[in-house]
Symmetry: C2
Subunit: 369 residues, 2 copies
């Protein structure tokens, strides 16, 4: 109530000292200072404070000085969102990032790259975890949009992303990472899943393996489908009957993968080589092979790198993705779109690399065939 009396800025003329005091008291109080507080303390209009805070021209050096001093003394921080409401460009300088899980190393690297690109432009990043839950996906996107992010970088899992169509029409840049969108057209940045999986599979076949098993994520995840296809295609090219190859899907963490691997070796005629189609799956396989004492006797290639994979015994051979590049490119596309690039949606495919570290170079057991 009382602070509102400051509105009468003519008071500044008479007894400036008195006003200063009450403003200073405000600074000590629990209320957050606004531009009006700064303006009153500096003895200028709010618009002038706005000009100084935003570095606009046509303010005298002396006034700038007074305003900055007042702002500092009140510990003033401008309210970005209030400004945004009125500002012409309507930018919140905020970005929404949705990844598999913020504590997955792949996601961490993507996140870090996005953050680096964003920081350079003074943009803050909201990060959320998807947990492969379609409801979570939509809730996260909605939470981002309500906060009026300037752009979205999304890993998705729901059937299709048609719900984003209106937002895309409004011009909000959306870049899909790791997984491609369905039902809408927009930029995406993905690894070459099919080729990478084929590369891994070919590598195993080249070591002489004929009994290969595929262990992968949920079949309704498009990325998983592509990796599976790469695996099967390559078997086909090598003339290996794909019907025989154990295909185990629906794995989503170390534990389910570990159990599936144990079960695999519990059956008859276990594989001599395994393709782990995702980092957590690969780790689960490694654990199981250790338990069975077969880590030097069963070949393994993983898709996506595994932390400290080079220090294990044997080293884990993987088809490594480049999550840092994926994040960087995704962020660059968002910013390019924000800067007005309206070229057609583009799909950027980031190449994968085979890292031979030992586990993928193991030869088939002699007893097997």
């Amino acid at each position: 109530m009382t602070p509102l009396s400051d509105t009468d800025s003519t008071e500044t003329e008479r007894g400036g000292g008195h006003v200063d005091e009450s403003v200073a008291a405000d600074a000590r109080s629990k209320s957050r200072p606004t531009m009006r507080h700064v303006a009153t303390l500096a003895g200028v209009g709010v618009k002038t404070v706005s000009r100084v805070i935003n570095g606009e021209p046509n303010v005298s050096a002396a006034t700038i000085e007074r305003v900055l001093k007042a702002a500092r003394s009140l510990d003033y921080e401008p309210d970005l969102h209030a400004g945004n409401l009125r500002r012409a460009d309507g930018r919140t300088r905020t970005l929404g990032l949705l990844v598999g899980s913020v504590d997955n190393p792949f996601a961490g690297a993507v996140h870090r790259a996005v953050e680096d690109a964003a920081l350079a432009r003074g943009v803050a990043v909201f990060a959320s975890s998807l947990d492969d839950d379609p409801e979570r996906e939509q809730a996260a996107v909605s939470a981002f949009l309500r906060r009026r992010v300037d752009g979205l970088i999304l890993t998705t899992v729901s059937e299709n992303q048609a719900y984003l169509a209106p937002e895309l029409r409004r011009g909000t840049p959306v870049v899909f990472v790791d997984r491609q969108p369905a039902g809408v057209t927009s930029d995406s940045v993905v690894s070459d899943n099919t080729a990478g999986a084929a590369l891994a599979t070919r590598h195993l076949i080249e070591q002489g393996h004929r009994r290969l098993a595929y262990l992968g994520d949920r079949h309704d995840i498009r990325t998983a489908q592509e990796r599976r296809r790469g695996f099967l295609d390559e078997l086909g090219r090598a003339g290996i009957a794909t019907g025989d190859a154990p295909l185990i899907e629906g794995l989503h963490d170390e534990e389910t993968s570990r159990r599936a691997t144990l079960a695999l070796f519990d059956g008859e005629n276990p594989p001599t080589a395994i393709f782990g189609a995702q980092n957590l799956v690969t780790i689960g396989v490694i654990r199981a092979l250790r338990e069975l004492g077969r880590q030097l006797d069963t070949a393994l290639v993983g898709f996506d790198d595994v932390p400290l994979g080079d220090l294990l015994e044997p080293g884990v051979t993987v088809v490594a993705q480049d999550p840092h590049a994926i994040g960087r490119i995704a962020a660059e596309r968002v910013f390019a779109r924000l800067d007005g690039d309206d070229s057609p949606a583009e799909r950027t495919i980031v190449p994968t690399r085979l890292l031979q570290r030992g586990s993928g170079e193991l030869l088939p057991r002699v007893d097997a065939r």
Copy 2:
């Protein structure tokens, strides 16, 4: 310009069909729908839309229906920040999290725990990386505050956090994680660094080691100081001359740590046991020991767990922190403060656990004493 004519809501009376059409056209256009658009389309006042969107009582079922239908057809998402400007509680339902680096596994686990707690309350999380750079710390905090986050969870590195005093006075909850604040009083959640380091050191001494080396982070980081103290205290308790023990500080990533370890073994009378005071440091040590072929010949205990540490050969013995608990407790404290808890600032110490996996149980080489 034309959209502004909607303001005249009396138009709804005459030719409702015409208005509907123009609103529908708006939906297809690039402009983002506001409550006024929804209100016009539904034929009600904006305040009624506000009531429906916020689930306030005293709206007839029929009206609710009409408003929701209009909102859906326009793909309306409320502007949280505009609402916030006016809303009494002034909450943005947003939180700022500052961690060492979002791609560090420790930080990832903290982040995930914070996110889980926040999600349950409909709160979104800004995440930033500190990179042990004091300027970055302050820039990140300022970015958070300009966006009016409801609370802060911070890992800090600057000399002191006195710059936060005005914000704390205004009642913004701030919880420090991993490192304690200096110059201000506020909640903090940390591991028991001194005790954990002492535990690690004692364990090595119990295996008979007398020549122990400490490899750690920058000495100006308080957490690093505490771990160093725990190490030295324990040497003292065991009657080992602390002056002789190699103390290598200023390490901040795998590479610097690896080189420091190599140098250590290049000198004369290398240690028989090493304490790696941080996860990246520990990894660097492991790499160096591998290169030297001394991984089975030099004991190692790390502070903070290492990914797949149990799968290495030898397994990496560590004093594990509980980053998930740290994040969860920190988030809970923020929310408790927001809910009005004004008890004195509290320091929560999360216990550490010694995980014996092999590397810490190696005995001293016979040639060394």
